[in-house]
Amino acid sequence: MSPSAGYTQEDVIQLAYIMTGWSHKWSNKKLETGDVWFDQDRHQTGEKQVLGVIYKNDAKRELPKVIHDLATHPVCIKFVSTKLCRHFITDEPTEEMVRPVIDVWNKYDGNLIEIQKEVVRQAYKYKDTTYKFQVPEVWLMQLSKIFDLNIPLLPSRMNYDFKTKPSHSQRRLSWWLREIGHSPYRAKQPNGWSDFEVDWVSPELLLRRLWFSSNILPKMIKAKNYSHDFTLECLKKNFNDYDRMSLLIKNLNSDTKLKEESDMSRKYGIICNLPGVLKA
């Protein structure tokens, strides 16, 4: 909810008391993780107070109550709405962009799908005046969508029971994200990855995107047996400056097998790193 909620160190301590006793199970079969459970013997008893609200001694029922209160706090709603707009629209979202998201949040009682839909609506509304340089993860998801690649596997295929190691295909997304500099598990600061453009610009970070789009992406396209015409069709559907794009890759459609691979590599390397794709 950010420090603008005006919490004190005492609020932090009290919240920590509410969380005592919660833990996750360690399995004896070398599992990485297990279910979350509540151990009454390790719970701090007594009344707690967070941000002026009193939580009566109520064991494991204290935590859901305080989470509910924090998640519906107006400061939290504004903070998360602003972050969402910053993530997708612009580094410095205006009051006019954030307001509709807050309204939808309140109207649908925090329904995440409705909130995200509103963010997309706002992003679309400001598409001609804002040019957000997308973080690597969003860029990757856009490529998946543009070229119909299912880069994040379907939920049914991602589903595994924690008793076995995830398979190669289940782990590949995490590896790719790491290689393009955006591993979901490796943010160095507790506030997670930055949403500001400047944090994602360095020569090597741009090169990693070129590496992915010219080395990994063509292999995936090939595996799907998509043709050159299919690529053009995808670009036509997604971009206004399709003519310029197709011109840039016009000569990269070789018939000879020998040249095919390097042409593919260049073609996707170029398309995926044009201003209109990096800044969508």
């Binding site: 260049r266 390397g269 170029i270 201003p275």
Partner: protein, 383 residues
């Protein structure tokens, strides 16, 4: 001279042209000086790296962390046995240490501390640029920073056109960049375009695919770039893992392993910088030291005062520069940590002043908000 992609093609003729028609200028004042900062993340234990000799209290409080076979520096201080290259350089007047020093941060959070060691500020997350970036900008040195990491470290931010080196697993054709470069126009594309421009100008040796997790390889390449008269003047390395709450070890163990990594990097830099080592300063940077007393898990907790390890030919002499506060209970910070009697930023400000040929007073105003940082250039460096 190292060849960039551009002058690779025209290199031969232009070199002849230059040497033939221009008068030879003296290199005495214009010779490039390098500043290398190695970030030691997690809180480096100054008392393990540069232990004080014969302090009974330290021995008593660190029964399981006693160092054997330390390398003696002078009558008061020794060096951790893994820091061999620093000892070798000490003998040549090319290594020195600042002890009982830290940035002015007395909290215990890695996140706040690491943010402040990079911004040089007093309030965490307030500044969006690093002291090194601001120092380069104030000295009009653009496009001469090299980071050995994938993102651009906060420390170097605030000055445009920095380069970094952390190659991808496969080769990337830079020809691709030529194809897209001109598509970027307008104010909102300026940052990306200038970064693509930096890539275009990279030397051939920086276009390789490699295993970026091999730190030795990266250090070798960095040294090569720094040795080039037209190459970078500033480099930033990142090392983490200094946060040894358990099983810190003594001569061997977790902290020793990290110091060995540091030793490796400095060794590679020393070997590969060649003659440029004499025009180089290498300084370490950390967010805080560690508690004097070992904990129940034979580790140490987050402390305050630490040490700065320095190497390079621009050092005045081998010395442990310190205003030693002592380790008696009353001398400790909050009764538990080595105190800091020297603001580490004074050392960095003075180092920048030497390497960037700028007045330390000027840099202090431009970079550190005119904070009270004494000029240490006479004491520590060759001026």
């Amino acid at each position: 001279m190292n060849c960039t992609r551009r002058n690779f093609l025209i290199g031969g003729s232009s070199t002849l042209f230059l040497s033939g028609f221009y008068p030879k200028i003296s290199f005495a004042n214009t010779q490039k000086k390098n500043l290398i900062i190695i970030s030691l993340r997690g809180g480096m234990d100054g008392l393990t790296a540069v232990p004080v000799i014969g302090d009974k209290r330290l021995k008593k409080l660190r029964k399981q962390l006693i160092l054997e076979n330390t390398l003696k520096l002078n009558s008061d201080f020794a060096l951790h046995p893994k820091l061999k290259i620093f000892h070798e350089l000490w003998e040549k007047n090319k290594a020195a240490f600042v002890h009982a020093t830290n940035i002015p941060y007395t909290g215990r959070s890695h996140f706040d501390g690491q943010n402040l060691m990079e911004t040089g500020a007093h309030t965490p997350y307030k500044e969006k640029t690093g002291w090194l970036g601001r120092g380069l900008l104030a000295s009009d040195i653009l496009g001469k920073g090299l980071a050995i990491s994938l993102p651009m470290p906060l420390l170097l931010r605030g000055v445009p056109q920095n380069n970094n080196f952390f190659p991808s697993p496969d080769f990337v054709e830079t020809k691709l960049i030529d194809s897209i470069y001109n598509e970027f126009s307008g104010e909102h594309n300026k940052l990306i375009k200038s970064t693509l421009g930096t890539i275009k100008k990279r030397p051939l040796s920086m276009q390789v695919a490699t295993n970026s997790y091999d730190r030795n390889k990266l250090a070798r390449e960095a040294a090569k770039q720094l040795h080039d008269p037209n190459g970078p003047r500033v480099a930033v390395f990142e090392l983490d893992g200094f946060d040894t709450h358990t099983a810190q070890g003594g001569a061997d163990g977790a902290h020793a392993e990290q110091l060995e990594e540091l030793n490796n990097i400095v060794k590679i830099l020393y070997k590969n910088l060649g003659s440029s080592f004499d025009n180089t300063l290498i300084l370490t940077l950390t967010e805080f030291g560690r508690t004097i007393k070992q904990n129940g898990g034979y580790g140490t907790e987050h402390g305050y005062g630490s040490a700065i390890l320095m190497a390079g030919g621009l050092l005045k002499k081998s010395q442990v520069y310190t205003d030693w506060p002592g380790l008696k209970k009353k001398d400790l910070f909050e009764g538990r940590d080595l105190n800091s009697t020297i603001d580490a930023r004074a050392v960095y400000n003075s180092a920048m002043s030497v390497c960037f040929n700028k007045d330390p007073e000027f840099l202090k105003r431009e970079v550190f908000w005119d904070d009270d940082l004494p000029d240490l250039t006479q004491e520590l460096f060759k001026v």
